[in-house]
Symmetry: D2
Subunit: 469 residues, 4 copies
């Protein structure tokens, strides 16, 4: 309420109480002021009450909520369903304009503010999680893959003649598709095995660069190569924000070499619903160019989700989640290792992957490949989600390219294995339950060494989104 209304209230209720109410209101306003002024993720999280107050204030500034508005355009932010209006806090106009997803809308000052502030707060988080020299970023309401496509389409305008993308293999369909959709031809760089771990084959990359002279992807050393050969470099940082190691590599890559843009998923890093990504980079002009490539306004829903989430958590809350994740990674490694040992298997040694872990499944393989697949089905049925088995010898064709040993990121990984990740938001209970159920499944499978009837469940090749072990 404004001062006039507070004054009127003093006639109804003792003025000392009203004045205290006014002072309390200023407390909320003060938090909003700091946010607007600094554009940073607040240190301490806000209460739901402050957040909703703020969102309501933003909504009031959009023309669809003007009390005296009359609309005679074809896009007036009208909403037919009250349920829909409410769940969007009456912010209906989306973000951006025809020309630019980051642009301000005349009809929607509130939604425009939301967009600006969200991008600014997310930039702050990118900085404090490790990429200190990032210069700009924006939230885009598209999956990581489609966001990568947008980056590639932008590069196409810069380099009309380019045809290839050098792509160190990672068995995730949408990553591969993002290049194909953009009309490029991916050149797959097969990984090399070092111990249990797969690493990018740098020699092969350089050989291909010399052979093709084209644009490509990946980390640190790659960035140096890219700089040397003047090749654009886009990093798929999918769920890397939650790992200080990944963020550090990007920061380093940009310092010593060249990274044009790095793209990360909102849902995987911020515990929000699927459907948004952050496109970030070190050269403001290039990122702006990408934002101008998106033709039309876009959904504000992912921006709203990530803003609410970051205001709720505050920087401290987010850092705490990251610290817990890291700690539980250690716990998961320990538990998985112990379990593996009990079953005559071992935890694969993958020190460069700070999030995912894998244990070998050699014994199951000796029974039959079906047993490995069946383990996946059993875990699914027992509500262990995300623990994926990777059998040997799976072949999969994606957009015309056939991958051998699909899901293992290499043609012939030495053994089948099971993957588990310590991602942001994981709890100790998740790990305890997973280990317990996994243990039971393995016992049960080793008993019926000659697997008779396979349980229902999705066949292994149905499983997606694999990570480098």
């Amino acid at each position: 309420m404004n001062n006039e209304n507070f004054n009127l209230s003093e006639k109804l209720v003792s003025s000392s109480y009203v004045r205290q109410g006014l002072q309390a209101r200023r407390g909320h306003e003060q938090l909003i002021r700091v946010l607007l002024q600094q554009g940073k993720c607040p240190e301490e999280g806000w209460s739901e009450s402050t957040i909703e107050l703020f969102l309501n204030e933003l909504a009031v500034m959009d023309s669809n909520n003007f009390l005296g508005n009359c609309g005679v355009g074809e896009r007036e932010g009208r909403v037919a369903s009250g349920l829909v209006a409410r769940r969007h806090y009456r912010l209906i106009h989306g973000i951006g304009r025809s020309g630019d997803i980051a642009a301000v809308q005349p009809k929607a000052a509130g939604s425009s503010l939301l967009n600006k502030i969200t991008n600014s707060v997310v930039l702050d988080v990118l900085k404090f999680t490790g990429v200190r020299s990032v210069s700009t970023c924006f939230v885009v309401p598209m999956a990581t893959g489609m966001s990568l496509t947008l980056c590639f389409l932008t590069l196409r305008h810069r380099r009309p003649g380019a045809r290839y993308i050098l792509w160190p293999r990672i068995d995730q369909k949408s990553c591969f598709k993002s290049m194909v959709t953009a009309g490029f031809e991916p050149v797959v760089i097969e990984n090399v095995l070092e111990g249990d771990e797969l690493r990018t084959n740098m020699e092969e990359v350089e050989r291909k660069i010399e052979e093709l002279g084209a644009e490509n992807i990946l980390l640190e050393e790659l960035a140096v190569l890219c700089a040397k050969h003047d090749i654009p470099h886009i990093v798929n940082n999918a769920y890397g924000m939650q790992s200080s190691k990944c963020m550090h590599l990007i920061q380093q890559g940009a310092r010593v070499g060249r990274i044009d843009a790095f793209v990360q998923s909102l849902d995987k890093n911020f515990m929000v619903p699927v459907g948004g990504a952050i496109i970030a980079g070190f050269d403001e002009n290039f990122i702006k160019e990408i934002s101008k490539m998106y033709p039309g306004r876009a959904s504000a829903s992912p921006s709203l989700d990530v803003l609410i989430t970051l205001l709720t958590l505050g920087a401290n809350g987010y850092k705490k989640l990251l610290a817990e994740r890291k700690e539980l990674y250690g716990h998961l490694a320990q538990e998985l290792s112990a379990l593996a040992e009990r079953h005559g298997e071992r935890l694969l040694h993958t020190p460069h992957n700070p999030i995912s872990l894998a244990m070998s499944l050699n014994h199951l393989q000796t029974h039959s490949t079906a047993a490995v697949t069946q383990l996946g089905s059993m875990l699914f049925t027992r509500q262990v989600s995300g623990a994926r088995v990777v059998p040997l010898g799976v072949e999969q064709t994606v957009s015309g390219h056939t991958f051998r040993g699909f899901m293992s990121h290499t043609d012939a990984y030495p053994c089948p294995y099971l993957n588990a990740a310590s991602a942001i938001g994981i709890t100790k209970d998740d790990i305890t339950l997973c280990i317990k159920r996994l243990d039971k499944c393995l016992k049960s499978l080793s008993k019926e060494a000659s697997a008779e009837k396979s349980e229902s469940g999705p066949p292994a090749e149905d499983v997606e989104d694999q990570t480098v072990p």
Copy 2:
């Protein structure tokens, strides 16, 4: 509650009352059954209570809401903020999979159902609003422009050699950009003036086809040409669903010629928040191919909005909105015509545009071009949104192409004019207020014939999303 729980309830509350409660529950279940069975928009709208019951049921089927789930993947549908979880009805997993935006997710049976049902209900609406022979469609959480881009990218894979899109001019930035972003070169076909109205220059289109042999866009006669020359034909049906005339033209075009896909905006046709589109077509394989081009999962938010809205309205409610819109179009034409006459102007004669209308602004022009621009500012300040002025001689460069007479869809329209649309959801009050305020502005401008101080407001060239007058 299941039967067991109803039985237990009978011990607490008289069984005849509980039995009636059970019967009532069946009423809701019955509505859901019909929806699942027929996949059509229900004739009568559902109550909020049935809708929320249904959405809660869907959410319960997603793994993030399993009571005994343990998640060790990197994408488990965890949500950090209660506000966010609630506003999405705890449906967190989005829609689609890496490979296909229409695919089913093992972890999220509820979200997958939501996606399937939404697409099915929307298909039904496409049919009953006029495109009876449409075979398939899907909702995509991207703006119309970006959705067109996705169509073009798909066509690129079918025709790797294609370079041009024939584009009968329409001055809307995102439409133009959708082609550029996809990496094509738009070939602008300038419109021809017939009376007040602009029409596609069919001779020029055919000439260009012969000159270039390429892919292109637009309606009925175009479809025949496309069929004749085997050229893919994508229709930007932005807000055309609300007009039976537009829908009829698409139906006819597909019958007598060729239409590969037609794309429409969700927010403009269904009164939902900005950010979604429908990609539809007559050849299931081609549409499926497009849906497989989207790399990665996508936001379920636009699907959720449109489903809630259509269940709330029912087919009858939606048809009623369309009928009201049509009736108010007549009313707006009448009022605008009368106003124009009072001010020595006239309603432009544009019988082929069933949604937008325009009145000439010749007198303002005689004062100065600034006066025309100022009218736009004055309307903005007076909360008339969507009524756009189109001055003469505006030049605008979009993605490198310079348009003369921008916003008027032609290089040199004979007079400046003001645009107003009768779009879905418009009310009689909107029209009354708009006419009243417009009248005042025109009077005030004609008084101060020599415009002194211009009011604040966005300059005319800031205005976007123009329609063919």
Copy 3:
């Protein structure tokens, strides 16, 4: 947001748009200003957006929402469940204080304002619905019956010697109990039959007054008697607010005679959840005395509901509902009369009851009393709620007093009948469905004249809340 924050916003988003947002905010503030200033129900209803803005503003003023508050009392408005906090808009402190339900709370300026404003708005509605000279009122979170008890308890303090309440019979349990609970002895004044209609036996009332010299209840003429004999007069106006006739009678009664307080139900008159009442009167001191009788703070929930509802409807919306109710009363009378005729029955002639109607059930009675009861069960099963059958000869003991012919308000009404009411919120569909189903039931009962198997359903004596036919 305050001005400082608007200024900061202008650095992020074009200042002309932000200024328009600020102006829009003032629109909402202006509505709130008028409400605070005038304390009246606004003519036009508010949007949900304004209402929620207002409620959030009130909540911010309560100490449980102070950002810097520390609480070391035993009642700090803490809330354990987020669901609970939200559904009360974080207004947790209730209304009133130990001493007075209308008093202001130091810890809760917002809740105190809510209380004051609600009472003020409700007073305005009492005035414009007919009781123009009402001087004060307050909403109390108790049923009508318990609210009557509170009035009686207050009177007990004024008249320590009083023992009786003269009570013109009306067969509603809670009305009767309200006197017994307060420790008084109700003296039942049996009604007299005039045509089909029951009227208060005024001679008997006067006789009893002379015999007992005590306090009592009812309308107009009664008020004169009360004034003449200096007897406190409490009117149970349960759902009378929705009838201009009832309101007029109270206005008249107070003008020519004496009415100490009149009590009405919130849910029955304002379409809000059960649980609140309005205690109103013409002598501010007496009403204040009642409000001071409530020991302790009370739930703000009914006040919140009625305030939201009245702000949503506005005075015009509420009057429209009343007008529709009245019109549908005529429609119901017509339909019921026609139906009665078709079944050889008749609509009872009860011109003094502006809300309820009754049709005779003589033919059913000739079959058996069970048939009358069965009709009630059949209607219940067929989801006709509120249409109650009144068989002959039901005896019921309430708080020790046995009523013959219970539910008919008299010992021996000439015929059994069926009751239906046109209450606020009723729709034409309700009436159509009711008549249709009733018709079917009557036909089916007359076929199986010798009723074999009775259907399940609550026996007639279970039915409550009868009205004078």
Copy 4:
């Protein structure tokens, strides 16, 4: 969804995923089953998702939500405002019937279940918090004071001749008023001072019993006296549920003596909004009699709040809150004691009060009584809520009775003091902030020993709800 709908879903989405969804649904149903079967507070709290599912299921059973219902009664649970409907989960019919607040409503099986289950769950909590032999209880939507009044009114019917209530003094207005409102004459038993602590004067109680022979109030020894003299005994257990000591005393009192009913506040014990109480006792008949005294239906809102809260917390969550409270009581005692020492004061020795603490304010008093009052104002202004100062010599008249030394529960307590409580929900931060601010205030007051200007704030006599130190 029922089985048929799950089957239909399998045609849209892979049946193994749907079957897992069905299994997940059974998980929620299972929790509900246990609740219905056992009627106990679940050990572990439920997720919001289960709670809302359950409440929606209940709502579906109420006739106002029947899809085919037609209503022609005067109370049909219609709701004018969507905001209101939603915030009550569409449970509109309240609880109870005319005859009995615990009765089942034919029109509202869902609300009736809610009522039964809430009372049953609350009874379970009463048991496990210490009153193991309690036999029945019910939630009533009235403040503790009004609930006590209802108990007294019930007793009046049992003992028509009774006039007095023996009342060991406790300076809380609503407690005193609850007796006066019920029409009784409170006989104040002044407390006796033992060390710093006030204790009930048992000799005086017995003397009064002999003098008057009447009904009265208080703990353990009192219960024995009551049993001996056959005097009804009502315990005001306001916020005693949170203390195992208080609950133990009631359990003991009922075992060795007589307790007819004990009444506790919902908001103070369960962290829900103000406005409800629990009336409980050991003789089912007497408690039932009280529930039948409430004339009319009542608000379900407090029942809904407490049910949501207890399902959210679970028994373990609630016990955890109690344990934390107890621990923080120790912490508060320590901190307050240290602070007192620093300022030359002392923590009063009140070992029998397990919730509230007090520190002397002798030094302030030597300055002036105004200084003591001013401290209260200063704390209020600094957002320390609930820390109340008790000056010497305050006189207050409540319902005609004048109390000397009001707020100190005795005519002449030896020193002024400051009160602070460790009530349920208190946090360590609350204590830290309170001590810090209190320290500052005391320092500032001792500096300006000659207090010049008093700050604004509520005068001390405005403060209410005092507790025995």
